[in-house]
């Protein structure tokens, strides 16, 4: 048992950070919430009550509809791509091949780069120019005679956003692999042996035993990747600049607030982003906390 003195000391030690979090996280969330309900437009604050006007405006705004659609497309492809690729890499690495450490680092390294750098590199690779100005991946395809692969990448009408998922998957699938590999290593060898003794094929063993055991990892990965995906901003700006076909809520928030001085509208987009992330994260946190309490 801790003594009362210890408890007080502990509280004193954490109080600065509690205070800082209260002010700089929850205080500013509350402030953003207030601004989102105001008419603030222009340089100087204007807290005139506007009710839900900003929110209603957003849901009738054709640009915001594009944003939501783009976010959904991007999230599905990015999270799905990372999970499939990450799991595949993890299973391959788990076969006990030589040089595992080397490959593990190799796949994980992209994660150490910031999205801005990834974006700049992929902007070159995914150069949509064709004909005499062809370059990047299109040039490689051209030289290899794989002409059918040459495409417009992120400038593809309607589905340009799908191509932004490629660099994102490239960057984050190694991380997903690491998560899965940790999960695979935690599965006792005895379970696999039991399955083999019972005559299960390798495929059936993965499908019936390994994958179900990995489902908590899949959930964690989906949460982590999902919230990155909802907030994506830097990657898109680095690859394609700020343009409507590839617009997402975070970019709209930035341009409308700082280029257009629509602070009220910008704050409402911010609050909507927070809510969408919260929908994803809060049930997960409750689930983990409950599980930890049971342990």
């Amino acid at each position: 048992m801790q003594s009362r003195k210890d408890q007080l000391l502990g509280l004193a030690l954490v109080s600065p950070s509690i205070l800082a979090v209260l002010i700089f996280v929850y205080g500013f969330i509350a402030w953003s919430g207030r601004v989102s309900l105001s008419q603030w437009k222009g340089l100087m604050p204007d807290y005139t009550w506007a009710g839900l006007q900003n929110y209603i405006g957003l849901f009738t705004d054709p640009r915001f509809r594009i944003d939501i659609r783009n976010t959904v497309v991007f999230t599905v492809l990015f999270v799905g791509g990372c999970l499939v690729l990450g799991l595949t890499l993890a299973i391959l690495l788990d076969q006990g091949l030589r040089g595992e450490g080397f490959f593990r680092s190799l796949y994980l390294f992209p994660m150490a780069i910031s999205f801005i750098v990834t974006g700049v590199v992929w902007r070159w690779l995914m150069n949509p120019a064709q004909g005499s100005r062809i370059s990047g991946l299109n040039l490689i395809f051209d030289q290899l005679g794989l002409d059918f692969l040459i495409n417009k990448w992120h400038t593809t009408p309607e589905w340009g956003i799908a191509f932004i998922a490629i660099p994102a998957i490239w960057q984050m699938s190694g991380y997903t692999m690491a998560l899965y590999l940790g999960g695979l290593r935690a599965i006792p060898e005895s379970l696999r042996e039991a399955a083999r003794v019972d005559g299960a094929s390798e495929f059936a063993m993965y499908r019936r035993i390994i994958l179900p055991l990995l489902s908590p990892i899949t959930l964690s990965a989906m949460i982590i990747l999902g919230h990155i995906s909802l907030k994506v901003f830097d990657l898109i700006v680095a690859v394609a600049g700020k343009q409507i076909p590839l617009d997402v809520p975070a970019i709209y928030m930035w341009t409308t607030t700082f280029d257009g001085n629509f602070y009220g509208r910008g704050a409402s987009i911010g609050i909507l982003l927070l809510l969408s992330v919260a929908v994803l994260v809060i049930p997960y946190l409750r689930y983990t906390l409950k599980n930890e309490a049971e342990l």
Binding site: L43, R63, P128, G241, I244, T256, D259, N261
Partner: protein, 445 residues
Amino acid sequence: MRYKTFLLFLILALVLVACGGGNNAATNTEPVAPAEEEAAPAQEEAPAEAEEMANQVEVFSWWTGGGEAAGLEAMIKVFNEKYPDIEFINAAVAGGAGTNARAVLATRLQAGDAPDSWQGHAGQELIGTYVAAGQLEPVNFLFEENGWLDVMPETLIPLISQDGNIYSVPVNIHRANVLWNNPTVLAENGIDVPTTLDEWFTAMDALQAAGMEAPLAMGEQWTAMHLFETILLASLGADDYNALWDGGKSWSEPEVAAALENFAKVLSYTNSDASALSWQDAAQLVVNGDAAFNVMGDWAEGYFREIGFEPNSGYGWSPVPGTNGNFQFLSDSFVLPVGAPHREAAIAWLTVAGSREGQDAFNPVKGSIPARSDGDRALYGEYLLSAMDDWSNNTVVGSLTHGVVANDSWKSEIDTALGLFLVDKDAATFQTALATACTSSGPCQ
């Protein structure tokens, strides 16, 4: 053992993620940091060293690289010669076309920590944002005392004023309505430089027939807005164009619909990968002969020289077809804030910024022309001399993309409407959105 190593590895990975996140946050807030650092000591020193503070002027801009920074240095040199006892503090914040700088400035003004003077695009970008917020003093007295009204074009003054008050001192002038061409391509195809929209369309049809897929080079979204404003001017003429911006003409009228039709037609001649190109990439297509035309401000001329092309042989220029006799301008200018910490020093800076000596120091280096019509002609190159001639005798109208005619909110609404139009090519919706934007953020009722 193996499992432990792996766990360690995983923790390391998480730390890396955390760092990655931290880096991103730092990137976003980076521009704020330097300004705050500079601002903080100034505040601390204020009471203690008030005497010394009187001899400073802190000037805020986004001129941090290339010809702009060099031009600013040249002008600072003139300032130091004239006012050796005033210390010049260069509070420049880096970032494309001032996006970052303006966010930093907004933060400083909201915190009541104004610099002594700052750079802004002359016109509604300054007026709509800072005058509306009560941050700027009129500078009419400077124009009168220094005789600037006599040496700057008459049609310029209303565009940088509100209710008869002039709110900034223009240092340089750029022209937006320039059509750059490739003389070799035009000669090979027997095409004269077009002077009307119809001639231009005919010329581009001929080029397409000769196998040039996209005769007009365009870049990312803001260059489309730049093209849009020139076509609007070409279709409507100077008077109606001006009337659109001061509320004298409705955006719902059929002339605007016709202008949008012209714009849609012009877009049909552009390259399909436009959204992936910067303005430099697009301009380069012309000098390389991949395209025949490009509409871009006259900063493109500096770029053409930089990559080794000569005027007339490598690139030619003319006003955008249909805009002959009009000079669609944009200008960097400096302001006098209400309650400038060092008002006298700020006035001294503005006097230099508006002087012939100051402007002739800045502009040849930056590659623009002086706002005054009495610049020293020996200092400027062939293109700039032709621009100086037009500046002194053309009708001056303002640019949309570069902040003269519309305030920031209005412009950003137009930008959204234009972006949607580039996707769906629906002119009727575009026109409705333009009319709505004018009502919600412009002068329309």
